[in-house]
């Protein structure tokens, strides 16, 4: 079977323009059943607009979204009941408790009585909030609020869950909890996941396949190996310095063998051809500029490097 042939969700040339401003254009992506797919890109790349169109909340200016082959643009209801969406905002009533929120959203999904109570207990267990379910949401920490946000999206047992940056602004512990939870939902319950983030490490950890977006377009896609393979002919040399050395940056820029020089807060990142044997020249340049090298590291390419290679910018610029 070819890739995407069994796609449950697919977009074709998806475009959204707000007056003259094109937020998303020509986005083509697919999700197979049970797959975990990442949408990686910096803030403002068009990820949220894309998933708003995919989830039927925003009508595309052009293109189509299909769910099991049926057009979501023509009939949004073909996807809505099968879809769980975790918005970037805390889409909850903060004056209500977790249980009251779940009961409200459960009821509007048509759940009643014992079935509703049982599903509420189940999702509270999944997000680890059973003990504190009767507290007002406004009294929860940011991480706990995000967990309730996810619980609401899981309540009606959707086939696919779309998560828009679900870990923004929370502590590392809560973040780890959420990532483990998403992993379990995908691996143990077979839930299809579309996960958007600008955190490369989250997407690397959770997703089978990744779409990289920038300026409203998908600029690369594939598995992590396929994407880092773009940089198979290159390597990254990371120089950690005690301070900034503009002279050294200038000298390194003049070296023809070095493909790109990027100055960061703590040092300099160099992208060079693989096995270019440049270390000697780099040390000599540092000595001439009297630069204090704290450490030197030759790294294998990451998705961050891929993004850098493709756009010339860092993911979190």
């Amino acid at each position: 079977m070819l890739k995407g042939e069994s796609a449950v969700l697919e977009t074709t040339n998806l475009k959204k323009a707000f007056k003259k401003n094109v937020a998303v254009s020509d986005v083509n992506l697919y999700l197979d059943k049970g797959e975990s797919v990442g949408l990686l890109g910096p803030n403002g790349a068009g990820k949220s607009t894309a998933i708003s169109m995919i989830s039927s909340l925003v009508k595309p200016s052009a293109g189509d979204v299909t769910w099991h082959g049926k057009s979501v643009v023509k009939d949004p209801n073909v996807i809505r009941m099968h879809l769980g969406v975790v918005p970037q905002d805390i889409a909850l009533y903060k004056e209500l408790t977790a249980v009251e929120n779940l009961r409200f959203f459960g009821r509007i999904y048509g759940l009643r009585g014992k079935e509703l109570e049982s599903r509420m207990a189940n999702v509270l267990e999944i997000v680890g909030l059973t003990e504190r379910k009767n507290e007002l949401v406004k009294h929860y920490s940011g991480g706990m609020q995000r967990r309730v946000n996810i619980a609401v999206a899981l309540l009606h047992e959707p086939e696919i869950i779309i998560m828009d940056e679900p870990t923004v602004g929370i502590d590392p512990q809560s973040r780890n909890y959420i990532l483990e939870m998403v992993q379990k939902l995908n691996e143990e319950q077979g839930m299809t996941v579309l996960y958007t983030s600008h955190y490369m490490e989250e997407v690397e950890r959770l997703c089978d396949r990744i779409y990289i977006m920038d300026h409203g377009k998908v600029i690369a896609s594939g598995t992590k190996q396929e994407l880092t393979g773009i940089l198979s002919s290159e390597e990254t040399i990371w120089l950690e310095l005690d301070r900034s050395y503009p002279g050294l940056v200038a000298e390194l820029n003049d070296m023809e063998e070095i493909l790109r020089v990027i100055e960061t807060d703590k040092g300099i990142k160099l992208i060079t051809p693989k096995n270019s044997r440049l270390l000697g020249s780099i040390f000599q340049a540092a000595e001439r500029q009297q630069a204090q090298i704290i450490s030197l590291n030759v790294q294998v390419p990451t998705l961050e490097d891929v993004f850098l290679h493709l756009t010339g910018r860092k993911l979190r610029d």
């Binding site: 909340l57 949004p76 905002d89 889409a91 009533y93 999904y109």
Partner: protein
């Protein structure tokens, strides 16, 4: 629908600041305004120390005689002639004028003394009286002729104002002017009613507008506390509409609205949920405020259960209207994706509507345009309806106002549907 209602009620009940504004503020303002502006109600005027002279030259019996003779010469059936004479007997313009001048409430403002013409002119010249009123000899005859036969311009009441106290003389002039106006009005009403009943001297026809008391019937006048307990309640009911719209903005902004749409629910269900929640919250608010007014401030304490039943019905209709207003504000807020509209409404428009509708002071003395506008504000209609009901006017009097309130409700719902359907589609 019940799910939306329950959620909206709980969310509002847990917002203590909002609750304080919606429930405590009207009570506080009722007390402040009720006591501060007490003088505007229930005969609270102080004496102006004004004295007027009345020169009564009217010869009633000669006037009646002359009128009878004129009627007898009319070419009409005897039954009609009898009816005209009956009407003339019961109307008696001079008795009504005397009644006005001897009115107890008017007596608190001015002292009236009957004098002969020479003495009166002398008193006016020496500043002993502020003004003098001359009732002409043929006052009865000319008045009846004009009123009942539609002949002539009626009798002229001559008011001579003194120079020293133009303000007070002006007040007296206005009082007489008002009498003539009221008298003509009531005569016209009586004529329309086919002469069945003419306003007699004891019918209280001179009451309205005199002495600052709002007296439409023989009921006790409304006290300032009672007036403001209604005025403030209807004003603060409008804040519920803007509060609901503000919360709708937060729901939209934080994607809760999107989450509701994703459940497959029709967007109009959300809008109607807002209308119903607003209505129920307003009804609860009014019941609470009227109860607090009744038991804490003793407003309408002597009224019967029938009165309170009527108040419940009127409040229910008003709540529907404010529910429709809440739906309109929600529709605009969701369409504009901005909290500006509920902000402007609660920050300014409510005050304007409250002023036009008479929540701050009775608008009867304001220019006609303001009064007319106020009569089409939901709070103005509600205030008028409850005031009329409180003064014992029956269902036939308040029904047109309730119909007006329902018309306004339909209009607001229509507008909100139109605007909501034009929001960015999802």
């Amino acid at each position: 629908m019940l799910t939306f209602l329950k959620k909206d009620v709980v969310v509002l009940l847990r917002d203590r600041t909002e609750l304080l504004v919606l429930l405590l503020m009207p009570i506080i303002l009722t007390v402040i305004l009720g006591f501060a502006l007490n003088g505007m109600f229930a005969g609270g005027f102080t004496s102006f120390d004004m004295k007027v002279a009345v020169v009564d030259q009217n010869d009633r019996s000669a006037g009646m005689e002359q009128f009878t003779e004129e009627v007898s010469q009319l070419s009409m059936p005897d039954a009609g002639k009898n009816q005209l004479m009956k009407a003339a007997e019961s109307a008696d313009p001079s008795a009504m004028l005397t009644n006005l001048l001897e009115d107890e409430e008017l007596g608190q403002v001015m002292e009236v003394e009957k004098m002969n013409e020479t003495k009166a002119e002398q008193a006016l010249g020496e500043g002993e009286v502020t003004a003098l009123l001359k009732i002409p000899e043929d006052f009865t005859y000319l008045s009846l002729k004009s009123m009942l036969l539609e002949q002539g311009k009626g009798a002229d009441l001559e008011v001579v104002e003194g120079k020293d106290s133009a303000l007070m003389a002006g007040i007296f002039h206005d009082t007489i002017d008002r009498f003539v106006h009221t008298f003509n009005f009531e005569a016209a009403v009586a004529k329309t009613a086919d002469g069945k009943e003419m306003p007699g001297p004891a019918s209280g026809g001179t009451g309205e507008g005199l002495g600052g008391t709002i007296t439409v019937t023989e009921q006790e006048p409304i006290t300032s506390i009672e007036y403001y307990s209604i005025g403030m309640a209807v004003m603060f009911a409008m804040y519920v509409a803007s509060t609901i719209a503000s919360k709708a903005y937060v729901e939209n902004y934080q994607n809760v609205f999107a989450r509701i749409l994703l459940s497959g629910k029709h967007p109009l269900l959300y809008l109607s949920g807002k209308a119903i929640s607003t209505s129920v919250l307003v009804f609860m608010q009014l019941v609470l405020l009227f109860s607090m007014g009744r038991f804490v401030l003793h407003a309408f304490a002597d009224n019967s259960w029938r009165f309170w039943l009527g108040m419940l019905v009127i409040s229910a209709v008003f709540s529907l209207c404010i529910g429709a207003l809440g739906a309109l504000l929600t529709a605009i807020t969701v369409k504009a994706e901005s909290n500006v509209v509920p902000g402007i409404f609660s920050g300014g428009i409510v005050s304007v509507l409250a002023m036009l509708g008479g929540s701050f002071f009775p608008v009867s003395g304001m220019p006609e345009l303001f009064t007319n506008l106020g009569n089409w504000t939901p709070n103005g209609i509600m205030l008028n309806t409850t005031l009329q009901w409180a003064q014992g006017l029956g269902p036939s009097f308040i029904t047109p106002l309730i119909v007006r309130l329902l018309l306004l409700t339909v209009l607001l719902i229509g507008l909100s549907l139109l605007i909501f359907s034009k929001r960015r589609a999802a």
